[in-house]
């Protein structure tokens, strides 16, 4: 738990922040930063070894809901925090910050990920879809429509994550069995207990999406 520095605990040696600062500004522009094993911590999509970035804010470009955005983020900023606070897209909801509940689910190149478990930097070069990007103008996505029809929600806080998880599930299993639905949604908690109605919504959405594709 967060706690102040108790007087009985001596201040530790140099902080990580201090160490990085001490490397000098030259490092920001060039140089290498990697850990043993040869894998770059800050790889880009070409997998090359990278310049080190941060710890202050650095500009990155993210493709969200079909549009490119350039924002300044600290390297430690999670994708969800970046979406909500830098891109002002609050539809993605923060619940546990530990990858335990699925509320922060977004799509990355069509696959569901927990945006709290991802650094914003690591989402560069990927197509990010948030709940705000699911509908086209006034036309709702079939999953959204199905959730309304079957009342697959109550308080609504898990709903954006559920809807995106369902969308990803139906991308992979266009005609899911009950078991596939349960397993596919097992990473999305709903404290209000709307699961039964959510399952119905998934079935309806599946039919609707298959019909649209014909």
């Amino acid at each position: 738990m967060d706690q102040g520095q108790s007087k009985r605990v001596k201040r530790r040696g140099m902080s990580r922040r201090g160490f990085l600062k001490g490397l000098g500004s030259g490092v920001l522009a060039s140089g290498f930063w990697h850990f043993g094993g040869g894998d770059s911590l800050l790889g880009n999509d070409q997998g090359e070894r990278n310049t080190s970035l941060g710890p202050g804010e650095v500009p990155i470009t993210l493709k969200v809901n079909g549009r490119s955005h350039t924002v300044k983020v600290e390297p430690r900023m999670t994708l969800i925090d970046c979406l909500r606070m830098k891109l002002h897209l609050p539809g993605t909801k923060p619940v546990c910050d530990r990858g335990e509940c699925g509320a922060c689910t977004v799509l990355l190149d069509g696959k569901s990920v927990y945006s709290c478990m991802m650094l914003a930097m690591d989402a560069r070069g990927k197509a990010i879809t948030t709940i705000e990007g699911l509908s086209s103008g006034d036309t709702l996505h079939p999953v959204q429509e199905a959730f309304i029809q079957h009342d697959g929600l109550q308080c609504g806080f898990c709903t954006p994550g559920q809807i995106l998880a369902v969308t990803a599930l139906l991308n992979e299993h266009p005609d899911p069995t009950d078991e596939e639905i349960r397993v596919g949604l097992s990473g999305n908690l709903c404290r209000c207990g709307a699961y039964p109605h959510i399952f119905e919504a998934v079935q309806t959405a599946a039919v609707s999406i298959r019909a649209q594709k014909k």
């Binding site: 738990m1 967060d2 706690q3 102040g4 520095q5 108790s6 007087k7 600290e74 900023m77 925090d81 909500r84 606070m85 897209l89 609050p90 539809g91 993605t92 909801k93 923060p94 619940v95 546990c96 910050d97 530990r98 335990e100 509940c101 509320a103 948030t130 709940i131 705000e132 699911l134 509908s135 709702l140 959204q144 959730f147 309304i148 009342d151 929600l153 109550q154 308080c155 609504g156 806080f157 709903t159 954006p160 809807i163 639905i181 349960r182 397993v183 949604l185 097992s186 999305n188 908690l189 709903c190 404290r191 209000c192 207990g193 709307a194 699961y195 039964p196 109605h197 959510i198 399952f199």
Partner: protein
């Protein structure tokens, strides 16, 4: 003034006439067979669109210009005094704009000691680590049984126990003396946490000497009043807004320290402050359902009639009281001789907060369990035992029920579940997977009551707005209010604008707890709409030169006399208002006296127990439940199934685990504190039984939020016992307990 009316209701398949007093100026009560167009229909939630598109604004989403992020420093020790606190290292940090000290003594790990506000969330979290604080760690106790010991560290000066609080009727000595059979057992339940997905938190903004707070709450007026008191301000200068709340379940019923802290930081910084708790903080200090140790003794005659019920219970609600759980024993079944003795045990842990059917969930588990144990000894069908002790009259108040549909609920529920075929007396079953069934009875309140005020506005363009300072916490309050308005004005739900959750209206509604919102707000809404409609008719009457009695509402029309050609489309009718606007108030009238207002339900559970892993899979739950008139069956189903899911979660998964030596909660996260997910879902067959209650209020509706969570754990525990032939009396029913019970059963047999 009031007048006497006679009408009828439909109860357990029979028509029954009822006579009672109603206020003079109320709209005519909607009766049992009322033909309604919109009310009673499964209408889509009016705020569903906002929620599925991510446009719904929760407290967590509020962003204001110049807004800072607050973060609280919490005491890591279960009992400590703050010897020194130095905020300066935090204040000096770049981006930190305010810092305050808070409590000087902590009575549990997690109490607020100080707080900062910074320009980003991360800066504020960094700053907390720089506050220099020295604690004097004091003796503590977190285990309720250790706390009861007179040598335990004192949680409170006066001692670690409070009570017993005693309820008694009849004479249990006589009752036990006349019993043919007595069963005695002790049941235990853990402390559990509400876990709303949106954590607690507030956004505070000062405008001169006026304070506006957005709070994730169930209780805007309660928070407003408490804030005004905390800051010694007139209530008129404090405004609390809640558009959407991401779950609450009782944990957001009153103002908390973090709200005052946010406001104080905002005042110091001269900028708005958002302070949302982390998930861990939410687990530690925002409330819980207390634990229980229930020593129950029941006496009955050979035919199953209960002669005596005696409960001795204790539990811990942390540093506060609130561990009572005797209501089911007192009030659900008929029994002349009852005594309950409840004791609170204080421990250095987070305080309790009402949690969906407080007391009832713990008490029902124990009661339904012991009734099945009794049924087993009597070799009686557990359902027959419940029916044998059907209370025709409220056992506590002695009043007649306005309506009680439980007999019908037992019947339709049992039939849908196929109880007669599925229930067999517990015997040692063979095979790795063993199935069993069990049941439980729900009883709750939910009649609603004054005060509550609703305002209805009709404008010349035909637009309608209804306002009230009530809350929608996922419970569809907005939707059912719109349904009432649509019904009364001949319009569609989509044509009604609903404004709730803002104290600025000064339209009081009670906190959304106790399942009282629907039954409190919708009758007041009907009164407001009736008044608005009457005012509109008066205007029209004078403009059209007709008697206002000749006007009536049609389908998107105002009808004038018997001549259809004279009728006006709604917008044409309202155009006669010209520059004027109709603003009408409606207030909630009191409930007629002399009746006990309750809702009832029956739940049946089928489980499959894997005797090798100890895992329990709930296969199916059938619920037959009423809420008076179900204004919206679609959203009522959501509440019922949601309550059942939480009851299942309580039965199988949830418990707060405290480290006795360190006094800390060990599972303050969603991985180690498990709540039910999709893989735990049974098939749920939920039957809404119509028990329209024309007596209770002019809509005939009662609340549904709490009843469905009550009997689920008992039904599941009974099903597990029925499956494996041995009873586990301690929740949650985790695999280790199942396996241990099976092992002991084998030892006894072998």
């Amino acid at each position: 003034m009031s007048k006497k009316i006679t009408t009828y209701l439909r109860e357990n398949g029979r028509r029954r006439e009822v006579t009672f007093q109603v206020p003079d100026d109320e709209p005519r009560r909607w009766g049992a067979d009322e033909l309604l167009r919109v009310v009673g229909q499964p209408i889509r939630r009016v705020d569903a669109l906002e929620k599925v598109t991510g446009r719904a604004r929760y407290t967590y989403d509020i962003e204001l210009p110049g807004m800072l992020y607050g973060k609280i420093l919490r005491c890591p020790h279960p009992r400590a005094k703050v010897i020194s606190l130095d905020l300066r290292p935090a204040k000096k940090m770049r981006g930190i704009k305010a810092a305050i000290a808070w409590k000087e003594e902590a009575l549990f790990a997690g109490e607020e000691v100080a707080a900062v506000a910074g320009v980003t969330k991360d800066i504020a979290e960094d700053a907390i680590h720089h506050i220099r604080v020295e604690y004097d760690v004091l003796p503590f106790v977190v285990d309720q049984d250790q706390a009861k010991n007179s040598r335990a560290p004192r949680v409170r000066e006066e001692g670690n126990t409070q009570g017993p609080q005693i309820y008694a009727r009849g004479d249990i000595q006589d009752g036990f003396a006349s019993a043919d059979l007595i069963v005695e057992a002790t049941y235990t339940t853990p402390v559990v946490i509400h876990v709303p997905l949106e954590t607690h938190g507030s956004v505070a903004q000062w405008n001169g000497d006026e304070l506006t707070v957005w709070d994730s709450t169930q209780a805007v007026f309660s928070v407003r009043d408490a804030l005004a008191q905390a800051f010694e301000m007139p209530k008129s200068k404090v405004r609390v807004i809640k558009e959407h709340t991401g779950g609450a379940f009782g944990s957001k019923l009153w103002m908390r320290d973090y709200t005052v802290i946010a406001a104080k930081l905002a005042r110091q910084a001269g900028r708005p402050v958002k302070l949302m708790l982390s998930r861990e903080e939410d687990f530690l200090c925002t409330g819980n359902r207390p634990s229980s140790v229930q020593q129950l003794r029941v006496g009955a005659t050979r035919d199953g009639t209960l002669t005596a019920l005696h409960l001795r219970s204790y539990g811990t609600a942390g540093i506060t009281g609130g561990a009572g759980c005797s209501w089911p024993i007192r009030g659900i079944y008929r029994c002349e001789n009852v005594k309950t003795e409840e004791t609170d045990v204080f421990t250095n842990a987070g305080p309790a907060c009402p949690f969906r059917a407080p007391g009832f969930v713990q008490g029902s588990f124990a009661l339904e369990s012991i009734l099945d144990e009794l049924a087993e000894k009597l070799e009686m069908d557990p359902l027959e035992l419940r029916k044998k002790n059907y209370a025709e009259v409220d056992p506590v108040q002695g009043l007649p029920y306005s309506i009680k549909a439980l007999a019908e609920e037992y019947e339709v529920g049992a039939k849908a579940f196929d109880w007669k075929r599925k229930w067999q007396p517990a015997h040692v079953k063979k095979g790795t997977s063993r199935r069993g069934v069990g049941l439980g009875t729900a009883m709750w309140f939910g009649a609603g009551a004054p005060p509550c005020h609703v305002e209805a506005v009709i404008r010349s363009d035909g637009s309608v707005t209804i306002s009230c300072g009530t809350q929608d916490i996922g419970t569809a309050t907005r939707t059912i209010m719109a349904q009432i308005a649509a019904e009364e004005l001949g319009l569609d739900v989509g044509e009604i604008e609903v404004d709730i959750g803002d104290t600025e209206s000064e339209l009081y509604a009670p906190s959304s707890g106790g399942s009282q919102t629907a039954a409190t707000v919708t009758p007041a809404t009907r009164v407001a709409l009736t008044n608005a409609r009457n005012q509109l008719f008066e205007v029209l009457a004078s403009k059209l030169g007709v008697a206002s009695e000749s006007l009536a509402i049609g389908d998107h029309r105002v009808l004038v006399g018997d001549d259809p050609s004279k009728s006006l489309a709604w917008a044409d009718a309202t155009r006669h208002l010209g520059r004027d606007i109709i603003v009408a108030l409606g207030s909630r009238a009191p409930n007629p006296e002399g009746f006990s207002y309750r809702t009832f339900g029956a739940q049946f559970a089928e489980v499959e127990v894997d005797t090798e892993t100890g895992q329990v899979q709930v296969l199916k739950i059938v619920s037959a439940q009423d809420c008076g008139r179900a204004i919206n069956p679609l959203t009522v189903q959501g509440q019922i199934k949601g309550g059942i899911v939480q009851g299942l979660s309580y039965a199988l998964l949830e418990e707060r685990i405290m480290d006795r030596e360190k006094g800390l909660m060990l599972n303050a996260n969603l991985e180690d504190y498990k709540i039910a997910g999709s893989l735990e879902m049974p098939e749920i067959d939920s039957i809404i039984v119509d028990a329209t209650d024309p007596i209770v209020n002019n809509v005939g509706a009662k609340g549904i939020g709490e009843p469905p969570i009550i009997p689920t754990a008992g039904a599941i525990a009974n099903a597990v016992a029925n499956a494996i032939g041995v009873r586990i009396r301690d929740l949650p029913l985790t695999p280790d307990k199942i396996l241990m019970a099976l092992e002991q059963q084998e030892k006894r047999a072998g």
